[in-house]
C-alpha cells in the first residue's frame, strides 16, 4: 500500500522537477539528506575525503624527490619510528611518503579512467538507447565482444602492444571500462527515455544532442554515479595488480602494487613493507565501495532492502 503511494509521489515530484529547473537543486539536497543518514556511507565518504586531502596536499609536507624517490642506502629497512612512521624500504626511502604519492597515482589513474570510459560510454550508451533499433543492436553487439575479454586481460593486451607507461595504463583502463559503462548508461537512459518530458522536448524540435545531454543524461545520472564509484574502486585494484606483475607502473615511481611487488621478496623479514601498501589499497577501495553503496541507497530508497 505504502509503495503505491510512494510511486505516485515520485512521479508527481518528477513532473514538477522537470517543469522547473530550480527544483533540481532540491533533489540533490534530498539525496544528500538521505545519504547523511547512512552511517557506513558517511564513514566511507569521510575516509575518502581525508585520503584525498592527504594526497592532494602532499607537496606541502613531503618532498617527492627527497623522500619518495632518492635512495638512501644508509637508512635501509628501518623499522617504523617517529621519523619514518611506516619505516623505510630496501632502498632507504620513506614508506609513508611513498604511500602518499602512490595514493596520488591511484587517484589520478582512477579519475582519468572515469573521464575516458564515462565520456565514451555515455556517447555509445546514450546513442544506443536513444536511437534504438539497428544502431542499438550494432553498438551493443560490439560491446558484447569487448565484454567477452575480462578487464584484466584487456589491459594486459593494450599494455603488451603499447608498452607499460602511466599514459598507456590509463588508456588501457579507460578502454577496458567502456563496455560496462555504456551498458549502464544505456539502461539508465532507456529508463528516462520513456518519460513524457523527453517526448515533449523532441516534439518541440530540440536537436538530438541537446535532448541527450540536456534532458536525458542529467536525469539518468543516479545509476551512472554509482557505477563511477565502483569503477574507480575496481581500477585501483586492477592497476595495483598490473603493477604487481610488472606490467603497470614501474620503479622508482611509488605505486602501491609496485611497492607490494618489491616487498614480496622481503616478506619473511620485513612484513610491514607488504602490509602497509595493502592496507592503503583496502582503505581506498573500501571507502569508495561504501560511498557507492550509500549513494545507491540514497538515490533510490526503494532499492534498499
Amino acid at each position: 500500500m505504502t509503495e503505491v503511494k510512494n510511486n505516485k509521489l515520485d512521479t508527481k515530484e518528477d513532473v514538477l522537477k522537470k517543469a522547473h529547473q530550480f527544483k533540481k537543486k532540491s533533489q540533490a539536497k534530498t539525496v544528500w539528506i538521505r545519504y547523511k543518514r547512512n552511517k557506513l556511507g558517511m564513514f566511507g565518504l569521510i575516509v575518502f575525503c581525508l585520503m584525498a586531502v592527504a594526497v592532494l596536499s602532499a607537496n606541502g609536507y613531503l618532498d617527492y624527490e627527497e623522500q619518495a624517490i632518492a635512495q638512501n642506502l644508509s637508512e635501509r629497512f628501518m623499522s617504523p619510528s617517529a621519523e619514518h612512521v611506516f619505516g623505510t624500504d630496501q632502498y632507504g626511502r620513506d614508506v609513508f611518503a611513498r604511500i602518499i604519492y602512490g595514493g596520488r597515482i591511484s587517484m589520478f589513474v582512477g579519475m582519468a579512467t572515469i573521464l575516458i570510459s564515462l565520456s565514451a560510454g555515455a556517447l555509445i550508451g546514450a546513442s544506443a538507447a536513444y536511437y534504438g533499433g539497428k544502431i542499438d543492436n550494432i553498438l551493443m553487439r560490439i560491446m558484447d565482444v569487448f565484454l567477452a575479454i575480462p578487464n584484466m586481460l584487456m589491459a594486459i593486451t593494450l599494455v603488451a602492444a603499447f608498452g607499460s607507461s602511466l599514459f598507456n595504463l590509463i588508456l588501457a583502463m579507460g578502454i577496458s571500462n567502456i563496455p560496462r559503462m555504456s551498458r549502464i548508461v544505456r539502461s539508465a537512459v532507456l529508463n528516462v527515455k520513456g518519460q513524457d518530458y523527453v517526448e515533449a522536448a523532441i516534439a518541440c524540435g530540440t536537436p538530438d544532442s541537446r535532448v541527450i545531454f540536456k534532458h536525458i543524461l542529467p536525469n539518468a545520472m543516479g545509476p551512472i554515479l554509482v557505477q563511477v564509484t565502483q569503477t574507480v574502486a575496481r581500477t585501483v585494484i586492477t592497476v595495483s595488480s598490473l603493477s604487481f606483475i610488472g606490467l603497470g607502473i614501474s620503479e622508482p615511481t611509488p605505486e602501491w602494487g609496485a611497492m607490494l611487488s618489491e616487498a614480496k621478496s622481503q616478506l619473511r623479514y620485513y612484513p610491514y613493507l607488504a602490509i602497509v601498501p595493502g592496507v592503503a589499497i583496502v582503505m581506498m577501495v573500501m571507502s569508495l565501495t561504501l560511498v557507492g553503496d550509500g549513494l545507491r541507497d540514497a538515490l533510490d530508497p526503494r532499492l534498499k532492502n
Partner: protein
C-alpha cells in the same frame, strides 16, 4: 527452448571472431621486428627479409588476420618467437593449472558464499548478518594478490603449515585457491543476500508459511530457488574475473599456469604467444557465460515456457 540454446551457441561464433580480431589488431602495434627476434641481431638483411616473406609478415593486415584465423581453426596458433615451440602445445600444457585454480576457487566461493548469503538474509540485521556483510566488504576491497601475500605471511612463514611456492601437491593449491576465491565469494554472498531478502517478502512465501510448510522448505525450496537466478549470473560473470585474477595469483605462488606464460610472453614481446593466451582465456570466459545462460533456461521456468516446444510441454 532448443531454439534459444542453439541461438545462444551460434552467437558465440561472432563474439569469438570479434575478440580475435581485436586482439590481433591491437597486438599488431607491438614494436619490434619478429625477424630480428627470431634470428638475433647478427644476421644479414637478406636473411631477415627472407624470413619476413616466409612468415608472411609483409602481407596486408587483413590477409594476415584471415590466415591466422584459418590456421587457428586447424589448431595452429603459430610458433613462439622465443622458443619456436608451437603455441598451442605450450598453452594446452599450461591450461590445466589455470582452469583448476579458477574452477576450484569458484566452487569454494559458492560453497561458502551461498549459504552465508542465505543465512544473513534470513537473520537480517543480526550479528551473523553484520559479520558476513563485513567479511564480504573486506574481501571485495582487497586485491586478491595482497590477500595471497598475507596468507603466505601467516600460513607459510609464521605458522609454517603450508608451502608458499610451486605446484607439487594438493597442499600447494590451498593458498592459491583461497586467494583466488575472495572476489567471487564476496559477490556471491552479497547477491544471494539481496535477492533472498527480496524473495522472502513475497506473498508466496507468506502463503507457504501459512499452509504450514517447514521453515527449511520455505527458505530452500521456495525462496532460494527463485533467488538463485541472479546469483547464477553473477557467478558466471565472476568466472571471467577469476580467470583474470588467477593470472596475478599464479605469479604470487609461482604456479606454471597460463598467467605465467602470458606475462612472460608480454615481457619478451612474444606476439603469437600473447595473442593465443589471451584468446584462450577470453574463449573460456565466453564458454562459461554460455553455460550459465543455458543453465538459466533450465532453472528459470519463465524462460523455459517461453521457448519450450509442444513436445517439451507434454513432458
Amino acid at each position: 527452448m532448443l531454439k534459444y540454446i542453439i541461438k545462444r551457441i551460434l552467437w558465440i561464433i561472432p563474439v569469438i571472431l570479434g575478440v580475435s580480431f581485436f586482439i590481433f589488431f591491437i597486438m599488431d602495434f607491438t614494436p619490434g621486428d619478429p625477424a630480428i627476434m627470431i634470428l638475433g641481431e647478427g644476421a644479414k638483411p637478406e636473411e631477415y627479409e627472407a624470413l619476413r616473406n616466409e612468415m608472411g609478415l609483409n602481407d596486408n593486415f587483413f590477409v594476415r588476420y584471415i590466415r591466422y584465423v584459418s590456421n587457428a581453426l586447424k589448431g595452429d596458433f603459430g610458433r613462439s618467437y622465443r622458443t619456436n615451440i608451437p603455441v598451442f602445445e605450450e598453452i594446452t600444457s599450461r591450461l590445466p593449472y589455470t582452469l583448476n585454480l579458477a574452477v576450484t576457487s569458484t566452487i569454494i566461493a559458492i560453497i561458502i558464499g551461498l549459504p552465508l548469503g542465505v543465512l544473513s538474509a534470513v537473520k537480517q540485521y543480526t550479528a551473523i548478518d553484520n559479520i558476513s556483510l563485513g567479511i564480504s566488504l573486506i574481501l571485495t576491497s582487497m586485491p586478491a594478490f595482497w590477500f595471497a601475500l598475507m596468507c603466505i605471511l601467516l600460513f607459510s612463514l609464521k605458522l609454517e603449515w603450508l608451502p608458499s611456492l610451486g605446484a607439487d601437491s594438493w597442499k600447494h593449491f590451498i593458498l592459491p585457491a583461497a586467494a583466488a576465491c575472495t572476489n567471487t565469494l564476496a559477490s556471491t554472498l552479497r547477491m544471494t543476500r539481496s535477492t533472498m531478502l527480496e524473495e522472502i517478502r513475497q506473498d508466496y512465501i507468506r502463503t507457504a508459511r501459512a499452509k504450514g510448510a517447514k521453515e527449511k522448505t520455505v527458505i530452500f525450496g521456495h525462496a532460494l530457488r527463485n533467488a538463485l537466478l541472479p546469483v547464477v549470473t553473477v557467478i558466471g560473470v565472476n568466472f571471467g574475473l577469476a580467470l583474470g585474477g588467477t593470472i596475478v595469483i599464479e605469479q604470487v605462488f609461482a604456479l606454471p599456469g597460463l598467467g605465467q606464460l602470458m606475462i612472460n610472453a608480454v615481457r619478451s614481446k612474444d606476439v603469437p604467444m600473447v595473442i593465443a593466451s589471451i584468446l584462450f582465456s577470453a574463449i573460456i570466459a565466453s564458454l562459461v557465460n554460455l553455460l550459465v545462460d543455458i543453465v538459466y533456461v533450465y532453472i528459470d521456468p519463465r524462460l523455459k515456457s517461453e521457448y519450450s516446444t509442444v513436445k517439451a510441454k507434454k513432458v
